[in-house]
Each structure stands twice: as C-alpha cells, then as structure tokens.
Symmetry: C2
Subunit: 135 residues, 2 copies
C-alpha cells in the first residue's frame, strides 16, 4: 500500500504540473499581446503663437477620457542633442498605446476625438501619423 | 487633566498629518516625472529584402539590455486605415521611454547602442527621430 500511495502522489504531482502549465498560459498570452503605437505630430499654422500651442495641448488632453487608449503621452520637442536625424520642427506630439487595431479604430471614431478635430484642426497646418505594431 | 489630554491628542494628530504629507511627497513627485519619448523610424536601403528587415529588427532587440530604457516597443507599420496623414513608408520603428534627458544621453553613448549602429547602419537609407517630452 505504501508503494501504491507513493505512485498516486507522483501521478498527482504530474497532474498538478500540467494544471500549473495550463494556468500559466493566459499570463503568457497577455505578455505577448502586440501593442499598437499611434504617434501623431502636429505643426501649428502660427508657430509663434503660445496661445495656439496651449489650445492644441489642452485639446489633446481631452482625449485622455477615451477608454480605448491604454497609455497617452502629450508632449513638445525635447531639448536632446542636435543631430541631423532629429526632427524638432513639430510643435506638439501625441503618443498613444492601443491593444490592437480594433481599439485604435474605436478611438478614431470616438465622439471626444471627433470633437477634438472639430475644435482644434484650424490650429494646425500639418499632421503626420505613424502607426506601428510590435514586431 | 482631561482637557489637557485632548489637546495633546489634537496636537499629535496635527503632527501626524504633517508627517503623512511628507511621506506622500515622493509619490507625487514620481507621478509628475516627465517622460521623454524617443521615436526613431528607419527606411531600409533594400525595402524588398525580408532578410535585411529581420537583421534590423534583431539589431533593435539588442537594445533591450540597456537599463536606461524604461520601456521599448520595436515595431513595423500597422495595418490601420489608410489616410493622407498616415505615413506607412518606413520599415521599422523603435519607441523608447526615458526618465528624462540624462537617461536618453546614457542610451545614445551606450556601448550596446554604438554596436547596433556599427552592425546595422549599412541596412538603412534614412532615419528620422522625434524626441518629445511630456508637456
């Protein structure tokens, strides 16, 4: 009986091992989720107007309320070292993370985003967007 | 004596209040820390070469070992909706977060970053960098 008990214990341990692996899978999947980075850069019509920049930055802040946005950084050019490859000509930047294409589309169509465009698009002369997905 | 005790209690509570505020300060400072977003976009010399893209992406992955990088996303153009403002002409993208200018400089000068440039710069024709800081 003692030997049999030991066998039962080993078999249970193996079963537990399988069970632990199965439990770990969703965590691994979560880690491997591909983030979509949406980066929009804005050039103002009136580059010298601090008021226009403030209006644009305030408009960008309203986007925080959109739940589909996982992370949002609203910024201005940083004073990093000057190099040929660094473009500091833009005036405002928004970097957003989404959990994939669908959430990015929800953001594009969202009423708060549409209101931002209606309220602020007269302020900018040019926008560039780079959408990239984790490789 | 009872009144005096109550006064002592109130005075202690005030002291505790000050102490709690002092303890909370570093957390507030941490929250308000400005993130520097460093975004580099790469255009390959041989846009059709899947091998060159793989080499570049592998080179970018080596940068993960640089401790000064707070967060890193290495990506390729996402298949978001086609719009005039969306530039999908690049081939690889790196988005890094730093805790400010100093950490970005540490990254620029880091041996691993320098090795990446030495090993991979022959692969790309053009690079654009946007450095922005939380406004």
């Amino acid at each position: 009986m003692k030997t049999q008990n030991r066998r039962t214990f080993v078999a249970s341990a193996a079963a537990l091992g399988v069970s632990a692996a199965a439990t770990a899978m969703p965590i691994m999947e979560k880690k491997e989720k591909k983030i979509l980075v949406h980066h929009a850069l804005f050039w103002l019509k009136n580059p010298e107007s601090k008021e226009d920049l403030a209006k644009l930055l305030a408009g960008l802040q309203t986007l925080r309320k959109i739940e589909a946005i996982k992370e949002l950084h609203i910024g201005v050019p940083a004073s990093t070292e000057k190099r040929d490859v660094v473009d500091t000509s833009y005036h405002a930047s928004e970097v957003m993370f989404f959990d994939g294409l669908e959430d990015q589309k929800i953001y594009q169509d969202h009423a708060i985003h549409q209101k931002f465009i209606a309220d602020c698009s007269h302020l900018w002369e040019r926008v560039i967007v780079y959408d990239s997905i984790d490789s």
